[in-house]
């Protein structure tokens, strides 16, 4: 019980600290720096077994037989399951249910799961897996557009019943989205210069640090408790129910610590496998992929081939654009249909072009499945259209930034889908800002090192390899800007749910926020606490662990989570506040007329009028009551794109980022060092400035990786050649330059607090900016990312 104070004694309200707009620190920060934070791979249960997955060594083969006898006889092995042992529905998928839980007589990609093993030690499980004898009959491969659409090509999914099966022109096409607006051929007549180009983007991997892992614990009611790292608990749940043959209330999922995601945890990985083994053995089962397996355990970013044509007048106005984007979706659909929708609807970039002809397709092949990764179809398009912009500017002898500004979209621009951009679109301004930032000093390696040498080789391309002291090193500067949608598009019911409880504990008002939002590192938990503090005026906020005991929060992807679940938390807090004020009016309404007449707020633990007059202490208003509400919240509805014309108001919100890259290239060895990668982004409203900047820097760095090093190499036999951090390179702190960030805050009136989703936009323009800078330094055309040393030395 708190001390009851007479409201008349209270004279001063105080602003609540730790609210929106402040750089409050992460609530999980201390746990994370002490090693106490429980990630999915840290789960432990008494008497638990270890699960392991046997994966296909071939990319396309019929399975003639599987002999598990010797493996099962291994001491310490508790269970082995193949497709024939599955209890219920045998497939899953984000959009099409086309992915077998365990290979169904055919393997369609290198690394496809064939059998799962539970044993008392991970090494026992691995050794048992090696004893499983599988007989294969190799099948012809589909590896690209040519082999996918050739006469007599193997049809990878012959009996498609998905919602796009009827309109695709070939069964090996997952989805196709044309967008036609105006008349590109007629507009081309007005062009003084026409520039076309062919571009290619390699297969990038999310390469989150926390490998796929989790713990499934069988429950007494015949159900299962799953502790898992994922991006969307309820999406996993919806796919697991049919596979396990259990009603959803028997599958209780709790989010454990997530070591990054970036799209790679949208699809199921080991979730079903762990649950199946746990239910089969009656014991808890933990599965942790090692890094090698992780490269097979999740989908990648679609590699793409892109053909673009633009026309310009001699004054520099773009007349038309035609493009074709071919995405390699790999063996299963995953998120490919939505990626196609994104790639096509954003293919124009942040520019005003009235006459366009766009086509994007995703293919079924025997390459590794591709799906969601930060930027989701817009990354590939941005690399191509930004290369085109530089070419057009060069053909006109114009400055690359001025040319972009001349054609930049703004609020009111109509997208090729017919959708007007109805919130700020400061494309020209972002370019201006990023260009106005001071340049890093020339020959910065001459600053000297701490040992007193005049040249610090660590600041040069090649670094401590000591390959140059500045000889043959050329500097280049490049610019790029991109456009990304925020939220799930094309008519998807993209809602979120938040439960907010307000009560008095130990004489203090305490708010509890409970959502199913996957905190993957983005800082959603920080923002939820800030929202609750701001809306409810309480200092203490508890964030309840995310689980499936509360309604869906949707996915932590598409830059949407702060917007949609943030919106849901705000909405629920407002409803709680209304209840508080109702209680207050009932308890204290007779003390002061303002209870009935004024606009009332909760601030600093008190009920105050909008004029700042304190009416009551929050503790006194809610003493003895618990207000506990769970509400769904939705953003504005969107529409599907017409399958023929691509017309439709498909997107919720757009987000914009611009980059300037400064690189130094050792032209003799083809080594690139990015010296600086400056970003300017409109975030609508920075709810937590520190987190906003961190997010932009992280996204920028992933774009740098795609520009100069990151690629999953798939050979002609559709086999992955580099599934390790030894051979799949992500930027280290030596590869990553200083990243100045200029944050613009132009509110979007349609969004909660005016915010704009920010996670993906920096990943778009970073890549083309770096490549433009390398082009500027070397004079080479560079049509493919990642750019490798051999592309720069011609060897």
């Amino acid at each position: 019980m708190g001390v009851t104070r007479n409201p008349t004694n209270i004279t001063q309200g105080s602003k609540t600290k730790g609210g929106l707009g402040e750089s409050t620190l992460r609530p999980d920060g201390t746990l994370k720096v002490t090693g106490e934070f429980a990630y999915s791979s840290d789960m432990w249960h008494e008497d638990m077994l270890w699960g392991f997955t046997l994966r296909s060594p071939h990319a396309h083969a019929k399975i003639l037989s599987i002999d598990t006898g010797e493996a099962l006889a291994t001491s310490g092995v508790y269970a082995i399951m193949t497709h024939d042992d599955l209890p219920a529905f045998t497939k899953y998928g984000l959009e099409y249910k086309d992915t077998p839980v365990l290979a169904d007589g055919v393997v369609r990609y290198h690394g496809e799961p064939i059998a799962i093993i539970a044993a008392d030690h991970p090494e026992t499980a691995r050794r048992a897996a090696a004893k499983i004898k599988v007989e294969f009959e190799l099948l012809p491969l589909v590896i690209d557009e040519e082999t996918a659409l050739a006469d007599g090509a193997p049809i990878l999914h012959p009996n498609r019943d998905d919602h796009h099966a009827g309109h695709v022109t070939h069964p090996n096409i997952v989805h196709r989205q044309p967008i036609i607006r105006g008349d590109a051929n007629e507009a081309a007549q007005r062009a003084d210069i026409v520039i076309s180009g062919e571009y290619e983007v390699g297969m990038q991997d999310q390469a989150f640090l926390g490998p796929e892992s989790g713990l499934a614990v069988p429950a007494e009611d015949g159900g299962v408790d799953l502790y898992i790292a994922t991006q969307w608990l309820h999406s996993d749940l919806g796919q697991l129910g049919p596979v396990l043959g259990l009603p959803e209330d028997k599958i209780r999922m709790t989010l454990s610590g997530v070591g990054g995601a970036f799209g790679g945890r949208e699809d199921l990985s080991m979730q079903a496998h762990a649950c199946l083994l746990a239910l089969r053995t009656g014991k808890p089962v933990k599965i942790v992929y090692n890094r090698f397996e992780s490269f097979f355990g999740h989908v990648h970013r679609h590699p793409a081939k892109l053909w673009y044509e633009h026309g310009v007048t001699s004054e520099g106005k773009i007349t038309h654009m035609k493009c074709r984007i071919v995405l390699d979706g790999g063996a299963y659909a995953s998120a490919s249909p939505a990626v196609v929708g994104n790639a096509s609807s954003l293919a124009v970039g942040p520019y005003v072009i009235d006459d366009v002809e766009i086509e994007a397709v995703a293919l079924y092949t025997n390459n590794p499945p591709c799906g969601a990764m930060r930027g989701f179809g817009a990354v590939q398009a941005c690399f191509a259209y930004e290369a085109q912009m530089d070419k057009l500017a060069a053909a006109l002898d114009m400055d690359a930034v001025e040319f972009r500004q001349l054609n930049a979209m703004s609020q009111g621009t109509i997208m090729p889908t017919g959708q007007p951009v109805d919130s700020p679109a400061p494309v020209a301004e972002l370019l201006r800002r990023v260009k106005a930032l001071p340049m890093p000093p020339e020959q910065q390696w001459l600053a000297g090192d701490s040992a007193g040498r005049s040249t610090d080789v660590r600041a040069l391309p090649g670094g401590l390899s000591n390959t140059t002291h500045g000889e043959g090193v050329v500097r280049g500067v490049g610019y790029a800007v991109g456009i990304k949608n925020v939220g799930f598009s094309e008519g998807f019911d993209d809602y979120s749910t938040a439960r907010v409880r307000l009560e008095v504990i130990n004489g203090e008002p305490v708010a509890m926020v409970h959502t199913a939002m996957a905190e993957v590192g983005q800082g959603g938990v920080t923002v939820h606490a800030q929202i609750a503090r701001t809306e409810l005026g309480v200092a203490q906020v508890t964030i309840h662990p995310a689980d499936t005991q509360v309604g869906s929060a949707g996915s932590t992807s598409a830059s949407r989570q702060t917007y949609v679940t943030g919106g849901a938390v705000k909405n629920s807090c407002e409803a709680v506040r209304e209840k508080v004020l109702e209680l207050g009016r009932a308890r204290f309404g007779s003390y002061h007329p303002a209870w009935a007449t004024a606009e009332l707020l909760l601030e600093g633990g008190k009920v105050v009028t909008d004029g700042g007059e304190v009416l009551a202490d929050l503790v006194d208003v809610i003493e003895g009551e618990t207000i506990d509400l769970e509400l769904e919240w939705r953003h504005r509805p969107t529409q599907a794109f017409d399958l023929v014309t691509g017309q439709g108001h498909g997107h919720v919100q757009y987000s914009f980022c611009a980059h300037r890259a400064v690189v130094e290239v050792d032209t003799e060895l083809g080594l690139v060092k990015v010296i600086e990668l400056a970003a300017a982004q409109d975030v609508g409203k920075a709810l937590n400035p520190l987190s906003v900047v961190g997010q932009i820097q992280g996204g920028t760095t992933q774009g740098l990786g795609l520009a100069v090093m990151e690629e999953i190499i798939v050979d002609k036999n559709a086999k992955v050649r580099n599934p390790s951090f030894t051979d799949y390179l992500i930027p280290t702190i030596l590869d990553t330059p200083t990243i100045p960030v200029d944050v613009l805050e132009l509110a979007d009136e349609h969004a909660p607090y005016g915010l704009r989703g920010i996670g993906e936009a920096p990943t778009l323009s970073s890549t083309p900016a770096v490549v433009a800078a390398i082009r500027a330094a070397t004079g080479l055309a560079l049509k493919r990312v990642p750019v490798r040393p051999e592309h720069l030395t011609g060897t």
Binding site: S23, L25, P27, D28, G29, T30, L31, V33, T34, G35, E36, F37, A38, Y39, S41, D42, W44, H121, E123, Q206, A207, F208, L209, P211, L255, S256, V258, G259, G260, N290, R291, D449, S450, D456, R458, A459, L464, E519, V520, G521, V525, T542, I543, A546, L690, S691, G694, Q697, G698, G699, T700, T701, Q702, S724, F725, T732, I733, L734, T736, I739
Partner: protein
């Protein structure tokens, strides 16, 4: 086999260790110390960086048997290690908890995912700096980075940016773009609390 060694100043033993097990596996799965992370298990990412007799190593590349009778410091012991160092007690992490402190010890309530479990006074300067600078996002790389950064500041209390980059080049991070990690190390150095028994280079 049985392996006996000091972890964060306390003698520990593990039974039934298979000969191929790594120090990382023993720490995480047999000793209840999951702070050292398992991001690649091939010595490429630095997430499992611990100090072995003071030297930063990837625990995934150390066979468990190699640490018999030696001293290991993990992220879980980093705060105590830094405290001992500041007090000039010992530089190996092997000095353990003084009797007086042990007698005053009390468990702190911890809420697995949401709450603060540690009073901020119980953190080492580098841990404080990582939180304050926003260097933690998903946090999976954080423990390894902290051990490596702490060792850097012990060697070199005022490192240049290039020194920091060189020292942390074996630690991959996928979330932050490293800028705030640099900020954190600069901050810890500037706060000058990393005064150590070891003299800087």
């Amino acid at each position: 086999m049985r392996v006996t060694f000091n972890v964060n100043g306390r003698p520990q033993e593990a039974d039934d260790v298979w000969e191929g097990e790594s120090l990382l596996y023993v720490l995480r799965e047999r000793m209840g110390l999951p702070g050292s992370k398992n991001a690649c298990e091939q010595g490429e990412c630095g997430s499992c960086t611990v100090r072995l007799d003071g030297v930063p190593v990837c625990a995934c590349l150390v066979a468990a048997a190699q640490v018999q009778d030696r001293d290991v410091v993990t992220v879980e012991g980093l705060a105590d290690y830094a405290k001992d160092r500041a007090a000039g007690r010992c530089g190996t992490g092997a000095c353990g908890t003084p009797l007086g402190e042990a007698q005053k010890w009390a468990a702190k309530p911890a809420d697995g995912q949401t709450g603060e479990s540690t009073e901020s006074g119980d953190l080492s300067p580098i841990q404080e700096a990582f939180i304050d600078a926003g260097a933690v996002q998903c946090g999976f790389c954080t423990p390894g980075l902290l051990v490596a950064a702490d060792e850097l500041l012990e060697r070199n209390p005022s490192p240049s940016d290039q020194d920091i980059r060189e020292a942390l080049s074996g630690n991959l991070c996928r979330c932050t773009g490293y800028e705030k990690i640099l900020d954190a190390v600069r901050l810890a150095a500037a706060r000058g609390e990393s005064v150590t028994a070891g003299e800087g280079v």
